[in-house]
């Protein structure tokens, strides 16, 4: 995973709340078998609408998405994150995220930034007025900056450390393999396993 420290890019205002992962990547595109390519279908059905903000050429190279509250709710599909990263997004801002989406974003180095509704609105207005405005996401300082606006954000300290070093979870966990084996030696042998058991009655 690429380390994430400071990102400067253009932002796109998505003035919608309750953006579920079915909208980010409709389920019929989930039959892909690799991470690559999901970006093509980001917000596929909303993009039928010529007025949809991601169709606006002024925002085509945006790398920061500023969305309304409850972004990424619903289905657990990690392809919602791959669709965003596949289109070049590095960060998503919203007052509140779906839990699974939030975790999936962190796993893939897409920074989910929780900012309150007032800051979201202020950002929308700024970037609508000037789509070429540079927006800075500073993970080290835990701050979003755009023009004269500076918005602090909170993020779990461990998640932040991991992102800043580009570490992946599996390698971190593998340091504790001995503990896992120890835990396994203490598990009750009467707990179920998945191999074929008795016939279905």
């Amino acid at each position: 995973m690429e380390p994430f420290t400071v990102h400067v890019g253009r932002a796109v205002p998505l003035r919608r709340t309750n953006v579920d992962t079915d909208q980010i990547i409709p389920v019929r595109f989930l039959t892909r078998s690799s991470i690559a390519g999901y970006g093509e279908n980001l917000f596929n059905d909303w993009r039928d609408d010529p007025d949809f903000v991601l169709n606006d050429p002024r925002f085509t190279d945006a790398s920061i998405l500023v969305a309304g509250t409850d972004f990424g709710i619903g289905s657990s599909r990690e392809s919602a994150v791959w669709a965003l990263t596949g289109r070049g997004f590095k960060a998503v801002l919203s007052p509140r995220f779906g839990d699974i989406f939030y975790g999936n974003a962190l796993s893939n180095g897409l920074l989910p930034v929780t900012v309150d509704e007032a800051a979201t609105k202020a950002l929308w207005e700024l970037i609508e007025r000037d789509p070429s405005l540079a927006v800075t996401i500073d993970l080290g300082a835990k701050q979003v900056r755009a023009a004269s606006l500076a918005v602090p954000f909170e993020i779990d300290s461990h998640a932040r450390w991991r992102l800043m070093h580009g570490l992946d979870d599996v390698s971190l966990t593998e340091h504790h393999t001995a503990r896992i084996a120890d835990y396994e030696s203490r598990r009750r042998p009467t707990m179920p396993t998945t191999g074929r058991r008795r016939e279905v009655s």
Binding site: Q23, S76, S157, V170, R179, I180, T194
Partner: protein
């Protein structure tokens, strides 16, 4: 945070008993007892595993099924859609390579992942259960901590049988009273989601308790826990009791003999201690409920069947107002329309929310001696092969056939609409699934989430209604 000595919640007890490692300001390393897989969200996880030269640590705690892409009308043909077939083929080769048991299409144990794990007796009290699927919450009905994970986390569990996770907050939903006759658990959970909103449970595990929950069958508890994720919660749970133990006894993977006694004693310890503190409490009265249906494009945009489509102008919150306007536009509905005046083109009965035998019985009861309205297409899909067989043993297939409905083969079908069962743009369905998101049942589809009884009655009437309306 280490396990506190004071009174603990059910969820905290399950969590504490699975902590492999704890360290200051780091997520806990949590052991996973059961890892379920289906073909839709997993091919990439196996690629990640192979790319890093890792293997599956505990294939014996891992189980796969085929459910999302599988056909429901005729299972003898090859899957026509190329991408869907490719995914099923990948699932088979991946499970084969890593020695994972897979319940394939046509197998007597195949079905929707959240339906088969409970019926095989694999979901047991006090366990941690994960799957690449948000409705894993279903299995919390057994007093397990069961939740959906993403693809990277699937790869993590495959490689290490653990997850790195921050502790969830505790929320208690107490449902007092009892459900009135003619009101189902689906109505209850829809009303609950309406009350708390789609983010009401965010970051929390919800424990459901109270007399109305205690009075539910395991099937009913599963329906409630299933939709916890629609209230934004990470997981939903019900403390195990005699109903749970009776359900588990004799299931293929349930313990037997002396093992049963050992496990039963363990299971009984998984209850919230008196005095345990919850981060959030909601109290609800079941006795005044009536059938509940959705009108919008998120599961909280709902109303009693007796009610009318909401008027966005009457909503105070500007964001909710805008969302309601957009939803009505998408749904092709005018504010103030009586829910009972909404005609339907299709009815879907099935899914991991309502595809169990009790749901099929509820539908059959309404359909017995009646027939489907002209022009309404009904898609009836059992949650598992075992449910399908039981429905035939009970003669429900003949009731459905007389009403003009085919009992199909099991799978997710029109809940996710990734197989060939999907609505056309503009078609309106009464559906027993869990999500009414835009395009959920096919691009441009319009979904009203309802209970099995309301779905069956709506099929007969060709519009949203309850069984009582048919008698009048």
């Amino acid at each position: 945070m280490t396990a506190s000595a004071g009174p603990r919640t059910l969820a905290d007890k399950v969590w504490d008993s699975h902590v492999v490692r704890q360290a200051e300001s780091e997520p806990d390393l949590l052991y996973i007892d059961l890892h379920l897989l289906h073909e839709l969200n997993t091919p990439v996880s196996f690629d990640l595993l192979r790319e890093s030269g890792r293997t599956v640590r505990r294939p014996d705690l891992t189980l796969g099924t085929e459910d999302h892409n599988t056909p429901t009308k005729d299972i003898t043909k090859v899957i026509e859609d190329h991408a869907a077939r490719h995914q099923v083929e990948l699932m088979r080769s991946n499970c084969e390579q890593f020695g994972i048991e897979l319940h394939r299409l046509g197998d007597e144990r195949q079905g929707i992942v959240h339906v088969i794990a409970p019926e095989l007796g694999l979901a047991q009290p006090g366990m941690t259960i994960v799957c690449c699927d948000s409705h894993t919450t279903t299995q919390g009905a057994f007093g397990a901590l069961a939740f959906g994970i993403g693809t990277s986390q699937v790869a993590h569990v495959l490689a290490t049988q653990t997850l790195r996770m921050g502790r969830m907050k505790n929320m208690r939903v107490t449902v007092n009273g009892a459900l009135p006759a003619g009101v189902s658990t689906k109505d209850l959970v829809l009303a609950l989601i309406h009350e708390v909103g789609t983010a009401g449970g965010q970051g929390h595990v919800i424990e459901y308790c109270g007399s109305a929950i205690e009075g539910l069958s395991m099937e009913g508890r599963m329906t409630v826990c299933n939709m916890s994720v629609e209230a934004g919660a990470r997981a939903g749970m019900v403390a195990p009791d005699e109903t749970t133990f009776a359900y588990l006894k004799g299931r293929p993977h349930a313990p037997t003999g002396a093992d049963w006694k050992v496990e039963l004693a363990e299971w009984r310890t998984f209850r919230t201690d008196p005095g345990a503190v919850f981060d959030r409490e909601v109290v609800f009265d079941a006795s005044t409920l009536s059938p509940f249906v959705t009108w919008g494009t998120n599961p909280a945009q709902s109303v009693r069947l007796d009610g009318v489509v909401a008027d966005p102008a009457e909503l105070d919150d500007p964001a909710a107002r805008q969302a309601a306007r957009r939803a009505l536009d998408y749904m092709g509905l005018a504010p103030g329309t009586a829910m009972r005046d909404i005609g339907v083109d299709a009815v879907f009965i099935g899914s991991c929310t309502n595809g169990r035998i009790e749901d099929l019985r509820a539908a059959a009861e309404v359909l017995d001696g009646r027939s489907v309205a002209d022009g309404v297409e009904v898609v009836l899909v059992p949650g598992s092969e075992s449910v399908r067989r039981q429905a035939m043993d009970e003669g429900l297939d003949r009731v459905f056939e007389k009403a003009g409905i085919q009992l199909r083969y099991p799978g997710c079908s029109m809940c996710a609409a990734v197989n060939e069962d999907r609505l056309r743009a503009g078609q309106r369905a009464a559906s027993t699934n869990n999500r009414n998101f835009e395009g959920r049942q096919g691009k441009g589809s319009r979904t009203h989430v309802v209970s099995p009884a309301v779905a069956a009655a709506s099929a007969v009437a060709g519009r949203l209604c309850s069984p009582e309306d048919l008698e009048a």
